[in-house]
Amino acid sequence: MKTVIAENLVKTYDKGKVRALDGLNLDVEEGTVLSVLGPNGAGKTTVVRILTTLLRADSGNAQVAGIDVVNNPEKVREVIGLSGQYAAVDEILTGYDNLVMFGELYHLGKKQAVVRANELLERFSLTEAAKRPIKTYSGGMRRRLDLAASLIVKPKVLFLDEPTTGLDPRGRQEMWGVIQELVKGGVTLLLTTQYLEEADQLADDIAVIDTGKVIARGTSDALKKQVGGERLEVVVEQQHIAKTMEIVSAVSGHTAGLDEGLRLITAPVSTGSVALFEVLKSLDSAGIHALDVGLKRPSLDDVFLALTGHTAEVKVEEKEVKK
């Protein structure tokens, strides 16, 4: 059964000048994890906001757990949990206060809210920090508390909008651990991320979106296959970069990507060692000496590059989370 369905969602801002969503289609099978992967500005947050009733689409349909998002937003809010890009908890209040308050707002009643708050604090290793104001928490702890707040009533669908953006590597690892635990417990999860590795780690299924549309959909393996299985990598001297990119692009059939710092040119190839040989031959006749050449198994980065023509390496202002 599809727990989340979005059909043909369109959302424009600025009186139609900015098309945040341009006929987006999505669905999430019950008990699975879908990762919506895309760079900043691709429309990830807009999708989440529409599905969680915070925003109305200009056109299109959306259902969550069989409930229409536009006609029945109150009912939708009863079955979802949302954890946004910012840890949306009250900084001045303690972790415990926050969870009890949200529990009461979910109409659990004071007693039940206290029980649930303690359970969640325990589960997310926050018991020790429970009585401290959130502003003393680390970025990772805030996110965990925020996640806990979205799990108070065991939602049928959980939405996590960039759950690790802005976290340091350790915080990210911790968060992944927590999410993986949830997934094992069988939650239906829609997760947005701009980190390919994150999608690879956490999701059953990936929807790659760019400029408001889903441009590819499948398991991480299927997406990698779609790009052509393997990836050719060549490192050359600075002055040969342009020519080498031409050669690699010609052999691959896709525009080659370049990491300027490493002088590394990459492109997906489908013919493995044959392609490698062709490139070496062409380089040789062009008089270019390659410093390093190789075939690599593809990463999701390559998938992204091949699908969108630009890399997913978005320069994110990683805001230092206030301590």
Partner: protein
């Protein structure tokens, strides 16, 4: 019933916040207390009122009104803060009454006003303010003040939700509140003002509120009441009218803004 429960929880959150950051309460009372001292002892000496009991009798109602007028800024910046932190998204994604957050916020700010007004009343008493109208009318005067603060709180909701930045909110609220409180009869007679200003001051809701409170606290003299004009003859009715108008306009506007704020 659920909606009431939601509103109650949000209001309680406001109070919990206050208890965790007592500085807010301290600073919301220090400023008006400073005004009391400033006007009472610095300017008061050179203002001749002919009022038995002296200038402070006229001053205190002015200070009270000014204090509750700043509720507008308090509500606005509180909401702007919540918005900045993404808290409003969380509240809006909960299965709660969609207006609970703003209603709870306005009620919480009114409760804060009760505490602040109590402190101000005591400060006034210490510097010689002696209302002479009997307990019933005095209580009615304070009720009037709370009601006025509550009405302005709804203007604050709209300002807070419309602003892009919490600092802007502070400035906008100040620009709205400051001239209203000073171009009035709160601190000095309006009779000394240029004609046009006198007119404004007379119909200014702050002036009618101050005049209403003076009446309720048992004062004869009302700074700058042009004899015969409607607001000076009927300050209570005019003030009540203003408050109702403010709420009739701003409650629906604010609630609509809140529902659509993401757009």
């Amino acid at each position: 019933m659920r909606a009431l429960n939601d509103i109650y929880i949000i209001t309680r959150r406001q109070l919990l916040l206050l208890s965790r950051v007592p500085e807010v309460l301290i600073f919301s009372t220090i400023q008006p207390v400073m005004f009391v001292l400033l006007f009472r002892y610095v300017f008061g000496g050179s203002i001749d009122t002919g009022q038995p009991g002296g200038y402070v009798q006229l001053l205190m109602p002015g200070i009270f009104v000014q204090t509750v007028a700043f509720t507008l800024a308090g509500t606005a910046s509180g909401l702007a803060e919540d918005m900045k932190k993404g808290l409003i998204d969380r509240f809006r994604s909960l299965p709660i009454s969609q207006s609970a957050l703003v209603i709870g916020r306005t009620l919480g700010d009114s409760l804060l006003n009760i505490v602040v007004l109590a402190v101000m009343g005591i400060a006034g008493y210490v510097v010689g303010w002696r209302p002479s109208s009997g307990i019933g009318n005095i209580a009615l005067g304070f009720l009037f003040l709370l009601f006025f603060g509550y009405a302005l709180s709804w203007v604050g909701v709209l300002v807070g939700l419309s602003a892009s930045d919490a600092r802007v909110v502070q400035n906008v609220s100040f620009i709205v509140t400051f001239p209203l409180t000073f171009l009035s009869n709160a601190f000095a007679p309006t009779t000394g003002m240029p004609r046009a200003l006198q007119y404004f001051a007379e119909w200014n809701p702050v002036s009618t509120m101050v005049a209403a409170c003076r009446e309720l606290f048992g004062l004869e003299n009302q700074f700058g009441a042009t004899a015969g004009s409607f607001p000076s003859e009927h300050p209570l009715v005019t003030s009540l009218f203003y408050m109702v108008v403010i709420m009739v306009i701003f409650i629906p506007l604010s609630l609509r803004k809140y529902r659509n704020y993401a757009e």
